[in-house]
Amino acid sequence: MRMDKKGSVDTVIECRHISKEFTSKRGTAKVLEDISLQVRKNEFVVLFGPGQCGKTTLMNVLSGLDGATKGTVYSHGQEVTGPGSERGVVFQSMALFPWLTVRGNVAYGPKARGFDKDAYTKKSDYYIDLVGLKGFENAYINQLSGGMKQRVGIARAYCNEPDVLFMDEPFSALDAQTRYLMQEEIMRIWSTEKRTVVFITNNIEEAVYVADRIILLTNCPARIKKEYPIDLPRPRDYTSKEFLLLRDEISKNMDRTL
């Protein structure tokens, strides 16, 4: 249930009537169909849906990494026409630079934007500490575990101090138990440094654990099937009755993967 009025100052990201098609020699594939949504400041929104339904495409459109076929995306009321440092991204594949240290990766954005060495070192060290990697500033990426790598990805995205953090299934490549750890960690990090977050997952427990609001998408072409505000107090309990009932309700309502 959306409680925002249109164009409220609280809205950080908004899209109206977004449609996205991909055209190739084999024809046209419609991936997104008439999606309109708003994300409020410091809200942790989860895009949830069956595999291959278009969640990543939607995120790419919202973050400016890709353009919509129809409709418009707004960031603080201004039209989004491309990627920008105000919209940070964390990828499932992490996409870290193996030739740089942890600090090199995390400081990359600010350094590229012209901050001086003192400034970007201070910034990056702050975020490296925030994600729990203090002491690993000079480690190389291949020396880190999967969970640690993803922490670097998160620190790197945060370090650019974006308005919005987009996270595309950031924990899907991790083993189940590290995944639980990272769910707790992202909640700890986010509550320490509040940001607006748009988070993609296809794991219902993960969705209910982290979200302020879950936007349930249909199968491809994706439309919004339903929105679920999640009012449970944090830290959440995976085995509480309320958690399990929500998990049950939402997963029953999800389209089956084609």
Binding site: D175, A176, Q177, T178, I204, T239, K241, L245, R256, T257
Partner: protein, 250 residues
């Protein structure tokens, strides 16, 4: 509580497994009763798959022994089926050819194979799909082919390594129910590895909790919850939390 009068099906005694310097299994001993459903849980990377591979002799133990029906496990004598973590249907065979495969290898004559395959297709609900290829099926149907193939040889021991890990919850619950139903019908002994504690509590009669490498048995828990089990039931949740506490490192 009634004494469990079932015979010992599998006896693992002082199982050690080492790869070079890496000690994975450290003095593991336990029994599995005939027709029992045992789940094995533990921290990631603790050696659960290594353990299963030792039972099937895919790995030779460094020392210790594994007895099935009182004798050292012998793949020629013992009827053991193994379901892997990775998807393992043979893409170039149809559903019924996949299911028939083990029977063919064992040299079962054609007429008997036909009957067994029909029975299995019925059990896993894939009768109408017998001529389909795995790529034409949904993920859950593919898993059913794998399960069907495993049950087709009427195994005395069924080993399963996290077969439902990647599936969404609705699907998992459905497949778990089907597995329980198949297990109850056939009386097979099952050793089932999972990282999912809820799944372990849902399926098991006993839960073996392993420690980190080098793994030993931290605890063996008896699961007396009545079936069909309900994941929202307070007793279910209590057991789930208890087991989670035992393996939680995060």
């Amino acid at each position: 509580m009634a004494m469990d009068e079932r015979r010992v099906k599998v006896r693992v005694s002082n199982l050690y497994k080492q790869f070079g310097d890496l000690k994975v299994l450290d003095n593991i001993s336990f029994d599995v009763l005939e027709g029992e459903f045992l789940c094995v849980v533990g921290p990631t990377g603790c050696g659960k798959t290594t353990f299963l591979n030792s039972v099937t002799k895919l790995y030779e133990p460094t020392s210790g022994e594994i007895l099935v029906n009182g004798e050292p496990v012998d793949l020629k004598k013992n009827n053991i089926s193994y379901i892997f973590q990775e998807q393992s249907t043979m893409e170039w065979y149809t559903v019924e050819q996949n299911i028939e495969y083990g029977l063919r290898i064992k040299g079962i004559p054609k007429a008997e194979r036909r009957i067994a395959v029909d029975e299995v297709l019925e059990m896993v609900g894939l009768k109408d799909y017998r001529k389909y290829y795995p790529r034409e099926l949904s993920a859950s149907m593919v898993q059913r082919v794998v399960i069907g193939r495993a049950f087709a040889t009427k195994p005395e021991l069924l080993l399963m390594d996290e077969p439902y890990g990647q599936l969404d919850i609705e699907l998992r619950f459905k497949l778990e129910d089907e597995l329980i139903s198949l297990w109850q019908r056939t009386g097979t002994t099952v050793i089932f590895i999972t990282h999912n504690i809820e799944e372990a509590v849902y399926l098991s009669e006993h839960i073996l909790v392993l420690t980190n490498k080098p793994s030993t048995i931290k605890r063996k828990i008896t699961n007396n919850l009545p079936r069909p089990r309900n994941v929202i039931d307070p007793d279910f949740i209590q057991l789930r939390n208890e087991v989670t506490e035992l393996i939680k490192w995060w």
